[in-house]
Amino acid sequence: MNLKLKIWRQKDSKSRGKFINYQLKNISPDSSFLEMLDVLNEELISKNEEPVVFDHDCREGICGACGMYINGRPHGPDSLITVCQLHMRKFNDGDTIVIEPWRARAFPVIKDLAVDRSAFDKLIQEGGYVSVNTGSAPDANSIPVKKEFADLAMDAAACIGCGACVAACKNASAMLFVGAKISHLALLPQGKVEASERVSRMVVKMDELGFGNCTNTGACEAECPKGIKLTNIARLNREYYKAVF
């Protein structure tokens, strides 16, 4: 495949940054999107140019490190996958691919396509945990949990914190991420004890970090690589009202 890439290049967080065009030839349709970028970077290094910086780690779609905005969609033109699981067969020969970093005030660009997502860590520090030592795994059914709640909590816990929800949201809101964390813990007996303090603190922190507000547009749900549902946002709202009133 021959491709034209239009990639956001930015020297550091303080630089202005701009799009640079690159031509790539003979890319295998079976290669992953990140492998395609590896090929580009090898070419750039061999020409003594700066390679394109992007985050990646497991390349198995489970760590949440990779993430970029490809042709107007986080993680590119496929659903329920991260960008490392996106393959070049999803594109056509001769395509122009526009690649941008996540855009949000809370996620400043570090360099090129890499953004600082420590705002998510700060949110977790506000309550995305259980503050007692739970010890080793208990015997099965020693703490009874209704199957329905266990399933919902497990679905919410699938969030890998990649930031696609913030990137996709027209308001750069972190409601789906926080909704997933709140749901995952509030639905289980171990997390229920601290549910109200957790939701109050996380919501305050979310505003403090400069994330936008939820307008129930649903772009987060549409782009989430783990299929986290919008119902988690409604549960976040319910938990918040319960804590406040």
Partner: protein, 207 residues
């Protein structure tokens, strides 16, 4: 925001009910009497202040949230908005501005005339009624006016179809069982409002 929105949704139904009096009874005095009641009853006058409060609250909240949302993404995407998602929700602030322009014109046309007494008067049994029915007939005989009003109702519909169900989600009311019902009600409500409000100008114009 959502509570004020739901409050305004109920007002739209009340206003529609009064409008339909003109059509159902086909007697201008029924409408004039209803308008007279709305303009003079003390309870309604108190409710009017609550209504304007609700509208103002809805607008102020919307403005604050919208500005926060714009600030949350200082640098826009070069290529954006390709996510498969609710279309009308992306344009709530735009439809809101259109509805506001409509409201200003609508107020100049009817509400201020009622308040400051520029409408023609009818005296029956010593009571003075403003002849709003005639006022409405005059306005809706003009085609541009009819087109403008119906266009405004369509935009109102775009605003309502998302706003209705979004308000419930914000209040935390979303689950597998009820959300489809709420979405159906949102569509039904929108059709009733847009259709119901559009019938009056159309009927008067073609009468």
């Amino acid at each position: 925001m959502s509570l004020a929105g739901i409050f305004l949704l109920t007002f739209l139904l009340v206003h529609l009910g009064i409008n339909l009096l003109v059509i159902i009874f086909d007697d201008p005095m029924v409408y004039n009497k209803a308008a007279h009641f709305m303009g003079t009853n003390v309870l309604i006058k108190i409710f009017e202040i609550v209504l304007f409060g609700g509208l103002l609250l809805h607008m102020i909240y919307a403005l604050i949230l919208q500005v926060q949302n714009w600030i949350a993404r200082p640098k826009r995407y070069n290529k954006a908005n390709y996510s498969n998602t609710s279309f009308f929700s992306k344009f709530m602030i735009h439809t809101a501005v259109i509805i506001m322009v409509f409201l200003v014109i609508h107020f100049i046309d009817f509400y201020f005339k009622a308040k400051f007494g520029h409408a023609a008067e009818i005296h029956i049994d010593g009571v003075t009624y403003h002849d709003f029915a005639a006022e409405i007939e005059d306005k809706f005989k003009m085609l541009p006016f009819v087109i403008f009003y119906i266009a405004a109702f369509v935009f109102l519909g775009f605003h309502l179809i998302h706003g209705f169900q979004s308000a419930f989600k914000t209040l935390g009311l979303e689950n597998k069982k009820y959300t489809p019902v709420i979405q159906f009600l949102a569509a039904l409500y929108t059709v009733i409002i847009v259709g119901g409000y559009s019938i009056m100008p159309l009927l008067i114009y073609f009468k």
